[in-house]
Symmetry: C2
Subunit: 349 residues, 2 copies
């Protein structure tokens, strides 16, 4: 077995402020496969799901939840894998596991406290492809679920706007809003092709290419009575323009700020926050980790909707561990339709 190596991307340096994520930031190393100690088990990575948070792990100035990955360490990343060897009776060889596997083939794992329920979880009855568990049945789906239901307080008849609608979370959020009885769901995306996809494949009522459209004019057309629920993962100008079109008692669910989070020049807040008063509206930030106690509820609902075909899973697949740096950059360039997934090793049959 000495020929099996553990391929890894380790952090070589942090990017400059506007430098894209690329393989130049990482070192590709090959080590031996680790062995588990007592209570541990080793997981073979099958898929990784790069998210926008990854860039923050490489930015010491960025406010975030998990801290930086030190230079020299394996890059952090969530994935699903299969248990290869185990010295923990609760984690059997061959079982599937979602967690912080890192950008590598093999990782040593141990059970985590409840605060990491979303990032460390044994999958008892996985659906295929296993990447579903990273996408609409996993953290992307749960983020959309709690954002739409809790921060968004969706009501039947709501007119809903979703930004970054072609992304992993946004594509789920729009569908969940529709399932929950929204009167209209409109998505924002960066290309005509993605807009078409939102309408044709995901069943959005309309989609707006915010890069080419007069966004404010289009929102006025699509929402003559105003936006009741705005699910926003973008921030910046898009949030500000959306705020100008909210309805009475609207809810704005803040999921992220990919437009401005890593741009030191985008240092301007949304002046239309004043519309929150004029419309007696609410803007609320949320983080999926806060809902770990209700994850079973989300999981059950998402699986149910997936099984009936109401909730379509779309992944944007890269192939091979070597593609991970590019996969992250693709996210920031908005190149993905659906949940960005990188296949690291083939699923067991």
């Amino acid at each position: 077995m000495s020929e099996i190596r553990n391929r890894q991307w380790r952090v070589a340096r942090y990017p400059a402020s506007n430098e894209p994520i690329s393989s130049a930031l990482f070192e590709w190393v090959e080590n031996s496969v680790p062995e588990p100690s007592d209570n541990q088990f080793v997981v073979k990575t099958l898929y990784l799901a790069p998210g926008p948070a990854l860039r923050g792990y490489l930015d010491p100035n960025h406010k975030q939840f998990l801290g930086n990955v030190p230079v020299g360490e394996v890059m952090r990343g969530r994935g699903i894998g299969v248990i290869l060897s185990s010295k923990n009776p609760d984690y059997a060889v061959g079982e599937y596991f979602v967690g912080s596997l890192g950008w590598q083939d093999y990782s040593v794992q141990h059970p985590r406290g409840k605060e990491f329920v979303f990032s460390t979880k044994k999958i008892s009855a996985p659906l295929r492809p296993l990447s579903l568990e990273l996408g609409i049945l996993g953290q992307s789906g749960a983020t959309a679920y709690f954002g739409v239901l809790e921060a968004g307080r969706i009501k039947a008849g709501d007119n809903v706007l979703v930004s970054a609608a072609a992304g992993g979370v946004g594509s789920a959020a729009g569908q969940i809003a529709r399932i929950k009885g929204a009167a209209k769901v409109v998505g924002l995306a960066s290309t005509d092709k993605k807009c078409q996809w939102l309408v044709d494949t995901l069943g959005f009522d309309a989609a707006i290419n915010y890069k080419t459209a007069d966004l404010s004019h289009q929102l006025a057309e699509e929402f003559p009575k105003g936006i009741d629920l705005f699910f926003d993962s973008v921030g910046g100008d898009i949030l500000n323009t959306g705020l100008a079109h909210i309805s009475l008692n609207a809810r704005v669910a803040l999921c992220g700020f990919i437009a401005t989070d890593y741009d030191p020049h985008a240092n301007i807040g949304p002046i239309n926050y004043r519309n929150l008063l004029y419309q007696r509206a609410t803007m609320q930030g949320f983080i999926v980790f806060d809902y770990w106690e209700r994850f079973a509820e989300a999981e059950q609902a998402l699986r149910q909707w997936h099984s009936t075909g109401e909730l379509v899973f779309c992944e944007d697949l890269s192939d091979g561990l070597e593609k991970m740096p590019q996969a992250v950059e693709d996210l920031f360039a908005g190149n993905n339709s659906g949940v960005k997934i990188c296949r690291v090793n083939d699923e067991p049959a």
Copy 2:
């Protein structure tokens, strides 16, 4: 009776964008006292309560609820008066009435729909001075009450920041927060004298002169665990700085934007809105009119707290109808401590 005249301030022109409110904008005229028609009654103005909204009535570019006052018309204004003559059996001569009396001695009134419950109301058991009904027992108190309880969702143990704390609404909001069990109430004001008054007279735990202090540093000192409830009537830099210090699950109640509302150069939103996500917090606008169905509840609570001395009423009194333009400008200059009131005619004994 022909010697009794109805003195009026009528709008002569609208102010330029940065022009202060002054008597130059109004025309002083004296007319005869009006007579009521069927269902109407005539009210003699005793007190007027100028509020920040008044400036909006003179600004065609300002988004607002009641619309502009046309040039040539009597300036709009809320007040309390006594019924002088009546052709409505429900409104008897000698009864007290709160409503949109205008900047004048005598106005013709009629019963309004429920949407104006706050601005048109017969006072059945008025306390003295009657200006109480315009202040802490009236719209200022009710605004603070619903802002703290509803948009602010006050909880026992909250650490509370109130901006414009020496103003009519802010001074009530801080006291109501304390009554509702806040662990700490800190006010922001523009002079050391007002700060001292907040602590000594109103029982705030601390007050910060935001004009001379390093506000962010002071907030960090006063709120080592963060601000749980921020009751803001100011907007602009103060809102932004406060947002930087909110705690997990904090609530920001937006009551107004006096800092930026009439300043065309203050066109920058609060970049720290992003902290709403990091802290899973909520920013919510509210307007007291929305709570008309619960006004009796607020009235009962405010009277109860006032009767026990828990809720101190402070008014900043100007004397004489001729002082109204200056009274409004005083509001914007932040010269008042407590509810700004203008005495137009003496209370009946």
